[in-house]
């Protein structure tokens, strides 16, 4: 028998994760008894569970708890990400039932898988040990592999899932190898222990550095940053749109939570060592993402490249290695969540209608057919491009400001130049939408109340988040480890 009394179990720290995990079980069991035409009740149960978890996350704000022998933290940082991730998950579940029915994928497992991914992401955000980080990444990844190939009869979806699985496995290999090297160098798996080791022995440790390098490779893969981004367009395009919507936002946020905890909270003293590879990742992501997006004719691929570019922008805030810079990244993640989720939600809304809604040609004259969706999409595009007064502008402003403060000019210049390039393709989407179509059919049917509310909320968040100064204040407070 293992003596558990020595391990202090802090239930409050893991309460949000516990609630979500419990909801998974409930949903799985309910799925057995709920008749197929009543599956929307699974969504309702999921939303209730997620909402409870969200409420349970709020007390963590401002605390400095750690649980399970320093492997998990209950602090503002975790609370910030919990709220963000749970909000995104709730919004996803809200618009799921209608979409799933439209594409004939209305199965109960879907909700259990989404909840599992969410639980993994939350775990990752709270993880303060290499073991829990790995656990979180695997939990979210396994769920997402299945979700990507959820459309069993579509070859595209199968290809998407398989590619993600194979490359993901490859990345996990690097990640694990990096972790092993770090453990070998420092003798500790907890971030606290690693930090103590790094500060006490300042000399160059090749094993440790190599481990950090491979760890960043694995995390950059999850964040879909270049040059580990190759899977992104294929997977985003092939996966069911609702899954793309969810993973494009939530996975990136969770991956950056881990990046923040490792690089800024644990290894700021090694900034000189990890700066160059991370800066390279950021610069490559911004360049490749923004440039390649120009020629995309498929909106999901376009948004995939846009996501790669935004991963680069989020990395910019990490580069100075300061908590203020990390706060800028956190704000960027929140901003990105609102605007990118909104953009993909609009694609989802149109995708539910029929074939090829993700091809840009389908969007010609959308303003005349779907004024609400087109207007909100315009807001999202402007925000992604960084036009004031949308939140995208302020997000870019804060990360650029962090770079200016730290005198990191090269990433800053690349960031500004690629922002200019990005205008080209974001505005093109708007141009396509306002182009007068030839004899377009007038669509009068709605997209359903949940979709209207979710898209409207995203648009509202995209518009006001930058104007309310408190949000950045929260990001600042969340990074006070």
């Amino acid at each position: 028998m293992i003596d558990l009394s020595a391990v202090h179990i802090d239930y409050q720290t893991v309460l949000p994760e516990l609630v979500v995990t419990g909801t998974i079980v409930v949903v799985l069991l309910l799925d057995l008894v709920v008749p197929p035409d009543r599956r929307r009740w699974l969504a309702v149960v999921s939303v209730v569970g997620l909402a409870i978890a969200l409420i349970a996350s709020i007390p963590l704000w401002g605390q400095h708890r750690s649980a399970f022998a320093d492997t998990m933290a209950g602090d503002s940082f975790a609370a910030f990400f919990n709220v963000l991730l749970l909000a995104v998950t709730i919004l996803t579940v809200l618009i799921s039932p209608r979409y799933l029915r439209c594409v004939h994928l209305d199965f109960g497992e879907y909700y259990a898988l989404v909840l599992s991914a969410a639980a993994g992401m939350m775990l990752l955000a709270a993880a303060t040990s290499l073991m829990t980080i790995f656990l979180g990444i695997e939990l979210l990844s396994l769920a997402l592999y299945v979700l990507c190939s959820f459309s069993r009869l579509q070859e595209h979806s199968q290809e998407s899932g398989l590619k993600y699985l194979l490359l993901g496995g490859f990345a996990t290999g690097f990640l694990l190898y990096g972790m092993a090297l770090i453990y070998g160098a420092t003798g500790s798996t907890t971030l606290l222990g690693i930090r103590a080791f790094v500060t006490s022995s300042p000399g160059t440790n090749v094993l440790l550095l190599l481990g950090i390098g491979f760890l960043s490779v694995g995390l950059a893969f999850k964040a879909s940053a270049a040059p580990f981004h190759m899977w992104t367009p294929d997977v985003y395009e092939g996966a069911p749109t609702i899954v793309t919507t969810f993973m494009s936002v939530a996975t990136k946020a969770a991956a950056f939570a881990a990046v923040g905890r490792i690089f800024v909270a644990t290894l700021p003293s090694l900034e000189a060592q990890w700066y160059v590879p991370l800066a390279l990742i950021a610069v490559l992501s911004m360049s490749i993402g923004n440039v390649v997006a120009i020629t995309q004719s498929n909106l999901k691929r376009l948004l995939a490249y846009s996501g790669i570019a935004h991963a680069g922008f989020i990395f910019l805030g990490i580069l100075p290695g300061t908590t203020d810079g990390l706060a800028a990244s956190l704000f960027y993640i929140a901003a990105y969540a609102a605007m990118n989720f909104g953009a993909f939600a609009v694609v989802t809304a149109l995708d539910a209608k029929g074939e090829h809604a993700d091809e840009l040609t389908y969007w010609t004259g959308l303003f005349y057919r779907r004024p609400f969706l087109a207007t909100t999409m315009t807001i999202f595009m402007l925000s992604l491009a960084g036009i004031p007064p949308t939140v995208g502008f302020f997000a870019k402003l804060f990360v650029f400001q962090a770079l200016v403060t730290a005198h990191l000019w090269i990433p800053l210049i690349v960031g500004i130049l690629t922002t200019v390039i990005s205008l080209y393709y974001y505005l093109r989407v708007i141009v396509v939408m306002v182009t007068v179509p030839e004899g377009a059919p007038v669509e009068r049917e709605g997209v359903g109340l949940p979709m209207t509310v979710v898209v409207g909320l995203s648009a509202l968040g995209t518009t006001v988040m930058g104007l309310v100064p408190q949000v950045f204040g929260w990001a600042l407070q969340a990074t006070r480890f």
Binding site: L167, V206, F214, A226, V276, V291, I294
Partner: protein, 630 residues
């Protein structure tokens, strides 16, 4: 409700009305637009009346708008007797005009109808914000919004090229003024480190300084542009392209008087900055005479009224420029009555004449449109300044104040301008009324048997006619005795006039009135009876000069528009296309080509992806080790 909530309510009503009409107006039944459009203005009027009867006053700060270092902009509303006075004019006269528009715009289709009242409500909101603002920043916001809504309304018939051009002209002229205003505000902020009126006025120096003069002159630029005074006046006559209710509301009763309000509101500044203050009076006096002379030769009935408006606002500038603030505001009130009356009565005529605006094609309407004709006559006599109409009392109070101001040669000089203007006004007003309503119908008249307007258009006209008739008795100071309610009311906000007139002033007033009335009648002899040789036959060059409006448009065209056009064309040909365009499209082409090349790496083959992945990992490892080694 507390005063601060009521003050906010004044703004909320028109804003809510505009939002409702903009969002749903064209889908809802027309009756909703008919009720909401004027209804919200009347609601604001009722609220303003409540404040008026409660003697409300105060400076209410609702929240901090911008806080950045020492730069602090609160959202505050200043309620004092001046802002209540302005709100009463805006919502009271404005309510009548918007109600009138319900009938006038009835020919428009559903969406346009709702659009019109949306714009009207936006305008009323902007104007109210302008006069209620308690700091310079919101003054500018209101100021610019007023210009914007004026642009919308002048260009309301956007399918007419002339309307679009007129709207653009008005907008450009107004923006020149806005820039002046904004620069003036900058100077004020830099000098006194405050944006609220209260703080700025408290920080003013006791003696004149150059920065204060600069601020006062820059603010005057804004006032001149908005009030269509020389030399930024050319937009107002063209603005008559807008629907007639717009002309009545914006280009007679409210917006164009904003300049007068500004000088009145800023009177602590102008009282110290004596040179800028003198400039106000000079600009007003010159514009008054200048515009009145042009009005003599205009043939479009609305353009006569437009030039007359410029001229009358010149009087108001003259008044506030010599320090007779309450006299200026009394004229503002009386002008709102009689000029709105004239515009709406003219609107009735235009309505009856199938949109014909040329007075030469009217004639003999007195018998066919008696109610409109008599109302128009009341407005005309008020404009000329005949006892007992309101225009007499307000205009003669200004002239009397200028005449009697002690030890001021400037005041006497502007009085001379005002005196001559009054005579010219008598003549052109007479010409307008006789040509339109007296005599025989013109052979070119488009409608043989015109119909009187519907009652929704007549009742507001009658109400204003009544106000123009009896309104003068609230202040009969021009006669040297009787009540002076406007002066008393505004005393707390703009101060009392520092000097008193005497008997000579009253005599001068009566002489002015008599001469103006004689000229009003002389117009009958010339244009209807053709008994006397028209003056234009005697001095044909003067006729040409006036018809060309002193060549202002040509002058601006030659020295500003054409050189700018040339510069722009040259810039387009030699800089924009080859250099900037080349760089931009070159970069775009490069990016697009690169994009294409890079996207070829996205082969879809798993093995290629892994290859890139491994290469990336190797590069990361090398970089990190190279760093460690160095």
């Amino acid at each position: 409700m507390s005063t601060s909530q009521l003050a906010l309510l004044i703004l909320i009503f028109p804003a809510a009305g505009a939002l409702l009409l903009a969002g749903r107006g064209w889908r809802l039944p027309r009756i909703v637009t008919k009720l909401v459009g004027p209804g919200v203005v009347w609601a604001s009027f009722v609220v303003t009346l409540t404040l008026f009867f409660n003697n409300a006053s105060g400076d209410f700060t609702y929240w901090t708008w911008i806080q950045s270092g020492s730069f602090n902009v609160p959202f505050n509303i200043l309620i004092d007797n001046l802002s209540i006075f302005m709100c009463l004019v805006i919502t009271g006269v404005g309510g009548l005009i918007v109600t009138y528009a319900v009938g006038y715009m009835d020919k428009e289709d559903g969406p346009s109808y709702a659009r019109f009242f949306t714009y009207m409500d936006v305008f009323v909101f902007s104007m109210l914000l302008l006069v209620l603002a308690g700091n310079f920043v919101f003054l500018i916001v209101g100021w610019a919004l007023v210009g914007l809504s004026s642009y919308f309304l002048i260009g309301f018939w956007y399918h007419r090229r002339s309307a679009v051009l007129a709207a653009r002209k008005a907008f450009v002229m107004n923006v020149i003024g806005d820039v002046g205003m904004i620069l003036g505000t900058f100077v004020v902020f830099v000098s006194y480190h405050a944006t609220t009126y209260r703080a700025v006025f408290k920080a003013l120096p006791a003696n004149d300084t150059s920065s204060l003069e600069l601020a006062a002159f820059l603010l005057l630029v804004g006032a001149i542009a908005k009030s269509a005074q020389i030399p930024l006046h050319t937009w107002l006559p063209d603005a008559m392209e807008g629907p007639t209710p717009v002309s009545a509301l914006i280009h007679a009763a409210t917006m164009v008087t904003a300049g007068v309000y500004l000088v009145g509101r800023m009177h602590p500044i102008y009282d110290i900055a004596v040179y800028a203050h003198g400039a106000v009076a000079i600009v007003g006096a010159v514009t008054a005479l200048f515009a009145a002379t042009i009005a003599i030769v205009q043939t479009d009935i609305k353009r006569v009224l437009a030039y007359s408006t410029m001229s009358q606002i010149g009087y108001m500038f003259l008044a506030v420029g010599i320090g007779a603030y309450s006299a200026g505001f009394f004229h503002l009130l009386s002008h709102a009555f009689f000029k709105a009356l004239l515009f709406m009565a003219a609107g009735n005529v235009i309505h009856a004449m199938n949109d014909e605006q040329d007075m030469r094609k009217y004639g003999g309407l007195l018998k066919q449109l008696p109610r409109t004709s008599w109302s128009f006559l009341i407005g005309s006599l008020s404009l000329v300044g005949v006892i007992p109409f309101v225009g007499f009392f307000s205009k003669e109070q200004i002239l009397g104040a200028a005449f009697s101001k002690p030890d001021a040669s400037l005041a006497l000089a502007v009085w001379a301008f005002g005196f001559i203007t009054a005579l010219v006004t008598g003549f052109y007003t007479g010409r307008m009324w006789w040509m339109s309503f007296a005599g025989k119908p013109s052979p070119e008249r488009p409608v043989e048997h015109p119909h009187e307007a519907p009652s929704v258009m007549l009742v507001p006209v009658f109400i204003l006619a009544a106000l123009a008739t009896i309104g003068g008795f609230i202040q009969t100071r021009a006669l040297g005795f009787g009540p002076h309610m406007v002066d008393d009311f505004l005393k707390s906000a703009v101060g009392a006039q520092s000097w008193e007139g005497g008997a000579s002033e009253v005599i001068a007033s009566l002489v002015t009135m008599a001469l103006a009335a004689v000229l009003f009648l002389a117009a009958y002899r010339i244009y209807i009876q053709h008994a006397w040789k028209p003056w234009s036959a005697v001095v044909p060059w003067a006729q040409r000069l006036l018809e060309r409006k002193y060549y202002f448009d040509e002058l601006y065209d030659a020295i500003i528009v054409r050189p700018m056009d040339g510069l722009a064309r040259g810039g387009l040909r030699y800089v924009e296309d080859p250099i900037i365009g080349g760089i931009v499209t070159g970069t775009g082409d490069l990016a697009e080509a690169e994009s294409h090349n890079l996207s070829l790496t996205e082969t879809g083959y798993f093995r290629n992806y892994v290859l890139v992945f491994v290469a990336g990992a190797v590069v990361v490892a090398i970089l990190i080790l190279a760093r460690a080694g160095s």
